[in-house]
């Protein structure tokens, strides 16, 4: 049994207290675990929901400032809880269901999207010891779970019984599956070097001054760039946001969704963006490693820098066309990442930069 280890003062005390309480009331062991994990999940879930709401606000602010506007300003200081209010508004809104929808598929699509986006955080190291479960196949698990998103998008596109949505769903299936390859292969270069799939192992191998993979090894920067490009595509963001290309497909797969179902897609999109940034921070930028500051500050700082980069790109570049997108993935990114992987293998074999 993998036991959760939380090492931040208050939170850790809280979990210890909960554990002792469960033991003292004499619950059987499996039930203790269930309750402990539920409490953990609730914590991570709450944290991520907050992050997602923050990211929505942040994106709006960044977009506004790039465009010399104010962005949200009304609700709170510089509109800081605008997105909370928006979420509450979406909760209250009527859930419009198309008459011709495929009932089951239409209902489950946002749920799967939401769950897939959140379950990646089971083995995301937020800081030293701040991990729900340090799976030995950590990064593989994250990649596998986030790919579930594509099924939900396809379901949303199909279930809506709308041509725009269908086109969006088909596009997202093609796109996410294509970009999964360069994304995983560019990560593989690092994994090969570390020799472990565990997120904690990857981070710990980068401890020390300038031991981050982006600086340490020659294949690091290339892998980082290819990963970032693939990650933007994976998170369905401009310039690779063709599944929901507003000017072509109105809103793509979520065109028929409204109310809370739409909010689930929307939040999941931002969670995905945070996920890919967190992976980049963990694998290439040294994760929680860093001097002086607490480990989780370093992790959040690096991740949010990545998010910022993604947002800047989002508001600057035009969108690729669907065929150019596929061409770029298969004719450029895949060869480059594979060449990079071979380079990493050779370097590993020769034993340089150990």
């Amino acid at each position: 049994m993998i036991s959760p280890v939380f090492a931040v003062g208050e939170l850790d005390g809280l979990f210890r207290w909960l554990n002792e309480l469960l033991v003292s009331i004499g619950l059987p062991q499996p039930w203790q675990d269930v309750i402990m994990y539920a409490a953990l999940s609730a914590t991570v879930f709450g944290l991520l929901a907050l992050i997602a709401l923050f990211l929505v606000w942040w994106e709006r602010k960044i977009a506004a400032h790039i465009q010399q506007r104010f962005g949200p300003m009304r609700v709170g200081w510089h509109g800081w809880y605008q997105t909370v209010m928006d979420a509450l508004k979406l909760l209250q809104k009527e859930d419009i269901r198309v008459a011709t929808r495929d009932k089951v598929v239409f209902f489950w699509a946002p749920v799967i999207c939401f769950v897939a986006a959140f379950s990646a955080y089971v083995c995301m190291p937020f800081g030293r010891g701040l991990i729900v479960a340090d799976l030995n196949i950590g990064i593989l698990y994250i990649m596998a779970v986030t790919t579930f998103t594509v099924i939900s998008l396809l379901m949303a596109g199909w279930g809506s019984n709308n041509k725009y949505a269908l086109l969006g769903g088909m596009r997202s299936a093609a796109q996410v599956i294509s970009y999964e390859v360069p994304m995983v292969v560019s990560l593989l270069a690092v994994i090969l070097y570390v020799g472990s799939l565990s997120m904690v192992d990857i981070v710990e191998s980068q401890s020390g001054w300038f031991n981050w993979f982006i600086f340490r090894v020659p294949f690091g920067p290339i892998a980082f760039v290819t990963y970032t490009v693939a990650a933007i595509a994976e998170a369905n963001r401009t310039p690779f946001d063709i599944p929901e290309a507003e000017q072509e497909l109105v809103a793509g797969y979520n065109v028929e969704y409204s109310g809370m179902k739409f909010a689930m897609f929307f939040l999941a999109e931002f969670i995905n963006m945070f996920t890919v940034s967190a992976i980049a921070a963990t694998v290439f930028l040294g994760g929680w490693n860093g001097p002086w500051l607490p480990s989780w500050v370093w992790f959040m700082g690096k991740t949010l820098s990545m998010v910022f980069l993604l947002m800047l790109v989002r508001w600057t570049y035009p969108r690729l066309r669907v065929d150019q997108l596929m061409e770029f993935a298969w004719k450029f990114l895949v060869p480059v990442t594979f060449a990079n992987l071979i380079l990493a293998g050779i370097l590993k074999y020769l034993g340089y930069w150990e």
Binding site: H65, I66, Q68, F70, L312, W315, T316
Partner: protein, 261 residues
């Protein structure tokens, strides 16, 4: 090499976007901050009052009504015992108004102006139709240049209706003004009477042209006049109209110099 120049261009774009990130916003927070509306901006139509007496400048000459391309203005008036026109009602339908400013230019008496006000949103479309009271009230604090004749109106002398009809616009204004002073506008003649009034007395009105309402496809209260008024009154009124033309021009020139000063 293509790839390098592409990357350079991509970074250049990012740089330009990033450069703007630190700049100050050019938009304003509307209800708190306000845009400075330049003088002469065309906003809501308001009726102007005399700066001294507080009476409306309007003489019910209906020039603005005729100039309006969307028939947003409706004027109801009646004749008092001296056959002078008395303004009963002046209605502007702001929902129809297209803010072209033709009414303002047509007016010879500084009676109405497109003020620099622009906020009149309501929840009810009917609230956009403003009557004379509301128009006067909104126009009270509007500054304007009085281009009317400076001399005070002569004491009301009994003018025979035949004389009045041959006289050009200016005396008619004086008459109506004094009439307005004596007697507040009372709606003693109903709206329904009005078309008949216009049709029969068109020849007597100095500035009125027996032209049918320009906006024939928009429902107006003067719709009945659509049945072509007899062409005969047009000939006699031709003279006063011709006289009114240089007046319009003069007034306009004056306006411009004032605005630019």
């Amino acid at each position: 090499m293509d790839l390098i120049s592409h990357i350079k261009n991509l970074l250049l774009g990012l740089g330009i976007a990033g450069k703007h990130l630190g700049r100050h916003a050019i938009t304003i927070q509307y209800p708190e901050q306000r845009y400075d509306i330049p003088e002469g901006s065309r906003g809501i139509v308001v009726l102007l009052s005399d700066k001294e007496t507080g009476e409306l400048n309007c003489t019910a000459c209906e020039l603005c009504m005729r100039a309006c391309p969307t028939a947003a203005i409706r004027i109801d008036s009646h004749r008092d015992e001296n056959k002078r026109k008395v303004l009963d009602q002046f209605i502007v339908d702001n929902a129809l108004c297209c803010f072209c400013g033709l009414c303002e230019e047509a007016c010879n008496f500084s009676a109405l102006k497109m003020a620099t006000k622009y906020e009149f949103s309501t929840l009810d479309k009917d609230d956009l139709t403003w009557d004379v009271k509301k128009l006067q009230e909104v126009g009270l604090d509007v500054d304007y240049v009085d281009t009317r004749k400076k001399k005070k109106p002569k004491p009301a002398k009994p003018v025979s209706d035949k004389q009045a009809s041959t006289e050009p616009a200016a005396p008619a204004k004086d008459n109506t003004e004094t009439a307005a002073e004596e007697k507040p506008p009372v709606a003693d003649e109903t709206v329904a009477d009005k078309p008949a009034d216009t049709a029969t007395e068109a020849a007597d009105t100095p500035v009125a042209e027996p032209q049918p309402q320009p906006a024939t496809d928009v429902t107006t209260p003067t719709e009945p006049t659509e049945e072509k008024p007899p062409p005969s009154p047009e000939a006699p009124t031709e003279t006063p109209v011709e006289k009114a033309i240089p007046k319009t021009e003069d007034k306009k020139e004056g306006d411009q110099t004032d605005a630019s000063a």
